[in-house]
């Protein structure tokens, strides 16, 4: 609760503040929950025809683009699917809705 800006009930605001701090970035990158969930998603995608495509579709709600597919698949082949899922969880596109 220290890291993510847990809403302060003593503040009266019209709109909750929305900034990312470096502490939040660290939490999103390294927190146990994120890393465990990334593993679970990787396991769920195992054996699928197009794991990267499905990962992007499920996380970002759109088809994977050609150029990014190459980058993501390259990363996954070097470091594994769980590490890739962690990366996707940290994409701005994952956190923000257009």
């Amino acid at each position: 609760m220290d890291a993510l800006d847990c809403a302060d009930p003593s503040l009266l605001v019209d709109k909750r503040s929305e900034t990312t701090t470096s502490l939040q970035a660290l939490a999103m990158l390294n927190n146990r929950f994120i890393l465990r969930m990334a593993e679970h998603v990787a396991v769920a995608l195992k054996g699928k025809d197009d794991p990267v495509g499905e990962l992007i579709a499920r996380s970002l709600g759109r088809p994977v683009r050609r150029e990014e597919r190459a980058l993501l698949e390259d990363y996954a082949s070097s470091h594994g699917m769980a590490a890739l899922v962690r990366l996707v969880f940290n994409m701005s596109e994952f956190s923000y809705v257009d």
Binding site: D2, S17, T20, Q24, L26, L29, Y75, R86, E93
Partner: protein
């Protein structure tokens, strides 16, 4: 063939990011709201030493011969006293003897005599007054300038004003007592209505995870250092492309900069906090004992000196590496056995070890900053939430005294070897009750030394131009050079 985007990214990493953010307009994430100082600053850094639980001015810094003379006699304040608990017993003299130190001849209690070596750098204020004898409100008041939650800590205001662009470490760092938080916990250093980037970052020196989440959760064996590194670059690329397609959404640029700072912190923080790089004579000057020393069960000065000294030495290293505001806490919550300054039962038992440890670490810090040429542009503030009563509570303690307490300052722009504002003959209230010093004056003075006019550093919230000093505060010219 390299495109403009990649050129900016590769040619400077963060530099490219900054150029983009200034093009996007508005205050860059982490940039100070002040384009330039209001006037020539004397200092660029602050250390705040907060004694949690209410340190007794009478036993440390504010010598009252009247209490020595009348020790044991029935106390009589000449007026009705609303005690916090029941601390209206006989007059209680200071537990320890006082002696003169420095060229200025300032009288210091024996347990804080290590500060004697640096007392000529210090300006004392013995007529601080508060509004409340309740720990949480009083701690808020000294930490944020308001006696209720919802307001930013002084460090957050300094970060908001001066900014933190391009640093490798957070601008505002908090070193809590290792045994736990003081009253109000992290709300004392919250950013409240200021942008969240200005909140204090908790650092716990000497622990395996000095900044929470600095390193990945160890159980995730799939994440190798190379995987982390490659993720950083790829993520940066993807997030930058995403932001460029959405010009005008400053949150996205802010997010990129946070990740960049996080990456820089992962490199910079371990080095900054690695005290093994310090020579032994420095570590012992700060009162550190060898790593892994086993401590006695009872509160003792060696353990307090080690804990406080570690924080002071870490603070010096952090300030050298660009941190602008370090807040060090001494004393924790109200658990038992008591390890805080709230000595209702026995002043000697806790104030002894805590004050000796604090004095050793603080004296070392001042000496060390001075020998590195950093004291002249670093302001140090020693504060607490209120004082303690000149009358006894129980047989050996002192009750809360919100009416008067002591602060002292040292460093950049502060006139050393002076005392401004006296307390009355018992140390019960300010001597001149109409002209006490308040936290607003302390805050105005510190902002002034940083080149900031406290009336001009504002944030509009709910139609009020909020500031650290509310609608009060006068720079204390008498303690400035």
């Amino acid at each position: 063939m390299i495109n403009r985007r990649d050129f900016l990214w590769q040619s400077g990493g963060g530099l490219g990011g900054i150029a983009l953010s200034s093009l996007l307009g508005g205050e860059a994430q982490g940039g100070g709201v002040l384009q330039e100082a209001h006037h020539q600053p004397k200092a660029k850094r602050v250390i705040q030493l907060f004694m949690a639980g209410a340190a007794s001015h009478l036993d440390l810094f504010d010598y009252k011969p009247e209490l020595v003379k009348r020790h044991g006699e029935k106390s009589d304040f000449g007026e009705h006293v609303e005690a916090f608990q029941n601390g209206l017993g006989p007059w209680k003299k200071p537990v320890w003897d006082f002696g003169p130190y420095g060229s200025c001849g300032k009288l210091l209690g024996e347990t804080v005599s290590p500060l004697g070596e640096v007392v000529d750098e210090m300006a004392f204020i013995h007529n601080m007054t508060g509004k409340t004898g309740v720990h949480s409100q009083a701690t808020y008041l000294q930490a944020t300038g308001f006696d209720r939650p919802g307001f930013p800590g002084m460090g957050s205001w300094v970060s908001y004003g001066l900014g933190s662009l391009n640093d490798n470490l957070p601008t505002f760092v908090v070193l809590p007592d290792h045994r736990g938080y003081a009253s109000n916990g992290p709300k004392n250093w919250a950013s409240a209505f200021l942008p969240t980037v200005h909140q204090g970052t908790i650092i716990r020196p000497g622990t395996s995870e000095p900044i929470t989440h600095l390193f990945p959760y160890k159980g995730a064996k799939y994440l190798t250092p190379q995987a982390e590194k490659d993720a950083g670059s790829l993520l940066g690329k993807l997030n930058r492309e995403y932001a460029e397609q959405r010009v005008g959404d400053s949150r996205l640029e802010a997010r990129i900069q946070s990740y960049e700072l996080a990456a820089r912190m992962q490199l910079a923080a371990p080095e900054a906090l690695d005290l093994s790089r310090e020579p032994d004579y420095i570590k012992s000057m700060y009162g550190l004992s060898p790593d892994g020393t086993k401590w006695a069960k009872e509160i003792n000065w060696k353990e307090e000196a080690d804990a406080f000294g570690r924080k002071c030495l870490s603070a010096r290293r952090l300030l050298e590496r660009g941190v602008k505001f370090v807040q060090i806490w001494s004393g924790n919550d109200n658990g038992f056995p008591r390890r805080n300054w709230d000595s209702h039962e026995d002043i000697e038992r806790e104030h002894g070890p805590l004050s000796r440890g604090m004095a050793i670490g603080t004296a070392a810090l001042i000496k060390d900053l001075k020998q590195r040429g950093m004291l002249e542009d670093t302001v140090i503030l020693w504060t607490t939430e209120f004082g303690r009563m000149p009358s006894t509570q129980g047989s050996k303690g002192r009750d809360h005294n919100p009416h008067v307490f002591t602060n002292w300052l040292a460093g950049g722009g502060v006139r050393g070897g002076v005392t401004h504002g006296e307390s009355d003959e018992w140390g019960y209230k300010p001597a001149d009750r109409k002209n006490p010093t308040q936290v607003y004056d302390i805050h105005a003075t510190i902002l002034h030394l940083l080149g900031i006019d406290h009336e001009k550093l504002v944030f509009r919230k709910d139609s009020i131009d909020r500031r650290l000093t509310d609608v009060h505060g006068k720079v204390i010219q008498e303690i400035l050079t």
